[in-house]
């Protein structure tokens, strides 16, 4: 570009814009022609700048991107590189920018590489807004497309809208929020050109149909043309980028545009009357659009005052897989689904199959995740039900729609009873002080969405008049096969459906003061996790029969059964051992895989607590049998594996002093947080310990060979080659002490509850190494630990030990001594 001739040509181009406008041409078309002239200059510069690795795209931003470049406006550019900018890129930059500067342009330029587009939403707000009008002038189309894809992400769109609202507020505040300025700024004042761009950007990012309502599109186009004409003339008169239409310029431009009137004052009044008319139309349109525009929440999803809605209903109708996401978004946003969107689904739901609604495992997992109890779940499920979607997503549910049951108790149809039961769970979350014991239980459940799933299905068999639990199970099984549930999740849901009446029958109809009644119920349930779920299911189900059914009286009975069964499961299971003739054991032996023998399985199981077969599925049992193979007195056989978000360590050995404490100590020395676990010992001396622990520091995940390091450390400590205490001491020295949760430590010993053992219960604030110190303390007082249940509920550790001393239960004096010793340890901990 020859600087002198280029400047002269530029002056010509600028003058031509003014002439065209004064000749009556629209401002928009005159400026498009001027913009095209600038584009050509830039394309020439780009061609001369040379190539760079990864390519570069020259992108016009803001008013230049819209082709509304006024004669003395800044040229806003993005130079988007395919690779991080190196020396060659710097060279290209110089070749593009220096000639523009030499020609007298004010260039507002941004330089980015595509790698930076990933974090676009946190880029500066003005830049994000300018991207709304990005247009490729020269260079790589692929880079421009990458930019567009990044810009279209909902998170970026939401950020653009937020920035737009904030910047518009600040800009309007500079003008006291009024468009009635005597000397208005054509670009920045309320009702000015920036407001037109803002209205269009909001509509484009949220709902393009907004502009079509109330005739706003036409009003904005007319105002824009008018304002651009004034701004162009203003620039040419002032020969700079000045947008303030002062009194002097009003007179001059009114004259140039030949406004009617005998005096310049009247001409100015006519001009300004036109200005205020257009500015008013712009301000109203912007206000309306700001008020009604949906905030983008996802693909084709936005939030308005009416709730979450599809932006484009026609498009949504063609994509049934997008429908569940509306309800998920509404749950997350804490708002309803908009009526129009519900109507759209209602019109189309009749033909939707489960495969079309949930085509991938991701969609199916999304449905399961959506069922987590929280505020709004009942309302969203009710909306899904009303528009016919719930029955399509959960096909067995269709059999109970408006199903009437005639009895003296139920107040609602079966479908509404089911949803009310879900609402009862939701209320345990939203109003935790009303039923605090049950609210606390719900927080202890690992997968509460399974509970909601079970509730949705528990009465689907009621389309038949008899034995509905059996029919519900039959109908649920096929549907559950379609869902990606966590390990054991399907069995848990089936169990809850099959036995959903059992706990209320025991609580309200049976003599729960008879220990045998409680024991049988505990045997049916099998473990604490299922007990908690069944208790909550019963609470929710009974409460949904009618508003008066779950009286405080019934609630108390239900809670008592829960406590009695919980105690039975955690404190009284030690005397109940697996025998060779046990049905479950026989079944386990009969179905053994080929690599195991009957004798191996039988001798492994014999003498373990009966509870063992309820805690572990057969596949895991066989793994344990393999691990116990050929075990010798000096050995410990270990297996470490991932278990969802946590890790599981299984240890099999022959009884050794301090074994349990040593394993706990080694795990803690690696920073592992032991969440739950079981330790079991047979009368023959076989020990099986299973620990689930969290690896918060990701030591196992991040370090190759870390699993072996942990296993070798355990082997060394168990074999006496190193000390768990030394390992843990080093760890604790480097640990910043966390403030403990406000849990008063409880140490309780009971010599009556079990025939063979003294049962020790400990409730204390969870802390690194806590289990090690407790179990070491027990061993130091000469006690043997035969069975352990480890549980962690939030910040509280709840551990139950079955212990003996010299093979028999502790005497009252020994109990007292141990209690004092452990209290001392726990107080030190606190």
């Amino acid at each position: 570009m020859n600087t002198g001739s280029a400047a002269a040509q530029l002056d010509d181009a600028r003058r031509n814009v003014g002439s065209d406008i004064l000749a009556g041409e629209s401002g928009l078309s005159a400026l498009e022609r001027y913009t095209a002239y600038i584009d050509r200059d830039l394309q020439r510069l780009y061609a001369a700048a040379g190539a760079v690795e990864g390519g570069v795209a020259l992108v016009a931003l803001g008013g230049y991107g819209r082709r509304h470049l006024c004669p003395y406006s800044d040229i806003d550019l993005l130079l988007l590189f395919g690779e991080p900018v190196g020396a060659a890129g710097e060279q290209v930059l110089r070749k593009l920018l220096h000639p523009l500067w030499d020609a007298g342009f004010v260039v507002g330029h941004q330089v980015r590489d595509v790698g930076e587009l990933d974090g676009l939403e946190v880029d500066n707000p003005e830049f994000l807004l300018a991207l709304a009008d990005a247009r490729l002038v020269a260079g790589e189309v692929a880079l421009r497309n990458r930019l567009q894809a990044a810009f279209d992400r909902p998170a970026v769109q939401a950020q653009v809208l937020a920035a737009l609202q904030e910047l518009a507020e600040a800009r309007h505040a500079q003008f006291s929020g009024t468009l009635y300025q005597l000397e208005p700024d054509l670009k920045d004042a309320p009702g000015g050109l920036r407001d037109i761009a803002a209205a269009r950007t909001i509509a484009a990012a949220s709902d393009p149909a907004l502009l079509r309502r109330h005739g706003d599109a036409a009003a904005l186009a007319q105002a824009e043309d008018f304002l651009l004409r004034l701004r162009t003339l203003l620039h040419l008169e002032r020969r700079r980028n000045d947008n303030a239409l002062g009194h002097e310029m009003q007179e001059r431009i009114a004259g140039l545009l030949a406004y009617p009137g005998p005096s310049s004052r009247q001409q100015v009044e006519s001009l300004m009357a036109d200005y205020f008319s257009h500015a008013r139309a712009v301000a109203r349109a912007l206000e309306r659009i700001r008020r009604t525009a949906p905030v983008p929440l996802g693909v084709n999803l936005g939030r308005t005052r009416d709730g979450v809605q599809f932006i484009d209903e026609q498009r949504a109708a063609l994509h049934p897989e997008s429908w569940p996401a509306v309800f998920q978004a509404a749950l997350e946003a804490g708002t309803p689904v908009a009526d129009g969107t519900l109507e759209c689904i209602r019109r189309n739901a009749g033909e939707a199959s489960l495969a079309s609604l949930l085509p991938t495992s991701g969609h199916r997992a999304g449905l399961v995740g959506m069922l987590r109890p929280r505020r709004g779940l009942y309302a969203r499920l009710s909306e899904m039900h009303d528009c016919g979607l719930l029955g399509r997503l959960v096909p067995p549910f269709r059999s109970i729609v408006c199903r009437v049951v005639r009895d003296f108790y139920h107040k609602y149809t079966v479908d509404e009873h089911t949803l009310q039961a879900v609402r009862n769970l939701e209320r345990l979350i939203t109003a935790p002080d009303v039923h605090p014991r049950f609210s606390a239980l719900l927080h202890e459940i690992d997968s509460p969405e399974l509970l909601v799933l079970a509730l949705l299905l528990h009465d689907v068999g009621k389309w038949r008049d008899e034995d509905h639990a059996v029919e519900s199970v039959r109908m649920a099984e096929g549907f559950l096969d379609e869902l990606p549930l966590p390990d054991g999740g399907r069995e848990t849901v089936i169990f809850l459906i099959r036995h959903h009446l059992q706990m209320s029958q025991v609580a309200f109809r049976r003599d729960t003061e008879d220990p045998e009644v409680v024991r049988q119920f505990a045997v049916l349930v099998g473990g604490e996790a299922r007990l908690k779920m069944l208790c909550l299911m019963t609470f929710a189900d009974v409460g949904a029969v009618s508003p008066d059914t779950l009286t405080p009286w019934k609630e108390e009975l239900l809670w008592r059964v829960y406590v009695d069964a919980y105690n039975c499961l955690t404190r009284q299971y030690a005397d109940d051992l697996i025998g060779r003739t046990e049905t479950a054991a026989r079944e386990c032996i009969a179905r053994r895989p080929a690599d195991l023998t009957d004798a191996e399985v039988a001798s492994f199981l014999e003498g373990l607590p009966r509870r063992y077969l309820q805690l572990f599925d057969r596949r895991t049992v066989y793994d344990h049998v393999r691990l116990a193979r050929d075990i010798h007195p000096d050995e410990v056989h270990l297996r470490l594996a991932r278990a969802h978000a946590s890790w599981e360590l299984t240890a099999v050995t022959l009884d050794k002093p301090m074994l349990f404490a040593n394993i706990c100590g080694v795990l803690s020395s690696f920073g592992m947080d032991i969440l739950r676990g079981h330790a079991m010992t047979t009368p023959g001396g076989l020990v099986l310990d299973v620990f689930q622990f969290a690896d918060a520091e990701r030591f196992l995940a991040l370090n190759p060979g870390a699993s072996d390091t942990v296993l070798h450390a355990i082997e060394d400590v168990v074999a006496g080659r190193s000390s768990a205490a030394d390992r843990l001491r080093g760890r604790l020295r480097g640990l910043r002490r966390r403030p403990s949760a406000p849990v008063t430590p409880i140490v309780r010993l009971d010599g009556d509850v079990s025939r063979r053992y003294t049962v020790l219960e400990i409730v204390a604030a969870d802390a690194l190494g806590l289990l090690y110190r407790i179990s070491r303390g027990i061993s130091e007082r000469g006690c043997e630990i035969d069975l352990v249940l480890i549980a962690t509920e939030g910040q509280t550790a709840i551990d139950v030990f079955h212990i003996t001393r010299r093979g028999v239960k502790l005497t009252p004096a020994e109990q007292q001594e141990l209690t004092a010793y452990l209290q001392h340890i726990l107080e030190d901990e606190a």
Partner: protein, 109 residues
């Protein structure tokens, strides 16, 4: 006439009802109540912590019977509700002066 007010275990309601039905006593009022007798509740343990359950859930069954079958009805309730353990409950016997049927206004004899 007598009003029999029986405080019984919740699990015994059906058995008491059946026993009274055998005497052709079919009308009754059953209410969920809470209270304690001589044993004044008991101590329960949950997660190592003791808590006192002082008011126990019970059922209150009320029936009005003629003087002629009063003793038989009391016997039926006691036998049906008994487990032999503490907490089986009580039967109170109260005199009833008059009784009216609301639908017709007639007085029961």
């Amino acid at each position: 006439m007598k009003l029999l007010k029986a405080i019984i275990r919740p699990s015994k309601v059906d058995e008491v009802k059946d026993a009274l039905a055998k005497l052709n006593i079919s009308g009754m009022t059953v209410t969920e109540v809470r209270g304690h007798g001589k044993q004044k509740g008991h101590t329960a343990i949950y997660r190592g912590k003791e808590y006192n359950v002082s008011l126990l859930p019970k059922m209150q069954v009320e029936v009005v019977v003629t003087n002629t079958i009063c003793d038989e009805a009391i016997r039926a309730i006691v036998e049906a509700a008994r487990t032999g353990e503490i907490g089986d409950g009580r039967v109170f016997v109260l005199p009833v002066e008059q009784s009216y049927r609301i639908r017709t206004g007639e007085q029961d004899v």
